[in-house]
């Protein structure tokens, strides 16, 4: 997915947020010396190519009470992992879902799904839902709760894609 210079400028100008004003794309356009129409067309094209995944609100799930989360991990039959991963990712309480390599013998899990809830109990209920969805294709699972944030820098994308 290659981006040209104008596309990068538009992303850099909007990734922190759109102006909260009646004509936000016109404001972005004025800032970049472009026409409103160009900004809208470029954003539409970026969305069609998957560079922009969606446009909308990023709710702060902590402030809204979703204070518990755990990294659930699953040892899923390789042949079924892709299909099942797609179904797990589609659950509304899963914020990230990936297939990753196992690291045997220390780490038998290949499916990672971050689960959010209002309490540890709710997260455990959601985890049970995932286990039920995976069924017999899943040999074992675990969940890793975070006990401390040791470092957190925003994954804001700079010119070189560096955090």
């Amino acid at each position: 997915m290659m981006l040209d210079a104008t596309e990068r400028r538009i992303i850099e100008a909007t990734q922190a947020g759109l102006p909260l004003s009646p004509a936000p794309y016109a404001e972005v356009a004025a800032q970049l010396g472009l026409k409103e129409r160009e900004v809208i067309d470029l954003l539409r094209d970026l969305q069609a190519r998957g560079v922009i995944r969606r446009i909308g609100i990023a709710p702060n799930h902590y402030a809204l009470g979703m204070v518990a989360n755990g990294m659930s991990v699953w040892d899923v039959d390789d042949a079924a992992a892709s299909d099942l991963g797609a179904r797990v990712g589609n659950l509304d309480f899963v914020s990230h879902c990936y297939l990753r390599p196992r690291a045997l013998p220390r780490w038998p899990y290949n499916l990672f799904a971050m689960v959010h809830g209002r309490s540890r109990e709710e997260v455990e209920e959601k985890r049970a839902e995932i286990a039920a969805l995976l069924g017999a294709a899943c040999r074992q699972g675990d969940i890793l709760y975070s006990t401390r944030i040791l470092k957190k820098t925003g994954l804001r994308i700079g010119r070189q894609g560096k955090a």
């Binding site: 997915m1 981006l3 992303i11 909007t14 947020g17 909260l20 004003s21 009646p22 004509a23 936000p24 409103e36 809208i40 954003l43 969305q47 998957g50 560079v51 922009i52 969606r54 446009i55 909308g56 609100i57 990023a58 709710p59 702060n60 902590y62 402030a63 809204l64 979703m66 892709s82 991963g85 797609a86 797990v88 990712g89 589609n90 509304d92 309480f93 899963v94 990936y98 297939l99 990753r100 390599p101 690291a103 220390r106 780490w107 290949n110 990672f112 890793l144 975070s146 006990t147 401390r148 944030i149 040791l150 470092k151 957190k152 994954l155 994308i157 070189q160 894609g161 560096k162 955090a163």
Partner: protein, 154 residues
Amino acid sequence: MTRPLYHPDAVDRRIINGLQEGFALSPRPFAEAAARLGLEEDELISRLENLRRRGAITRFGPFIDAAAMGGAFCLCAMAVPDDHFDLVAAEVNAFPEVAHNYERQHPLNMWFVLATERPEQIEATARAIEAATGLDVLRFPKLEEFFIGFRVTA
């Protein structure tokens, strides 16, 4: 990370639940979204300003696929002995390539994400962390990422 809880009223909820995707690419997108939510344009804008000021939403705008901007990412994990944990955490965090780092309850008790400009720098950084700490760095690069249905229901 602790922030006071925000208690959204019914209109806030409609906005938070209804505006997590699909914001229009048109000259008056707030007017369109407001109509869909049964609000006036100016009311929607002032509600969004308030939600942002109060920390109930962190951002309003496009969500970018990080990989599309270039750069490489890799989840990594280490099994750090308890009596060295804080020292190793400081050593790992000193690498600017470490974007975030969490302590987790597991024998693999330190989990961090490396973010570099070029893919080959992931491996070089992981080796440098191994050299600095004397501990193995397990690499868990993503093999497949799934579409996410995550929606916070307020």
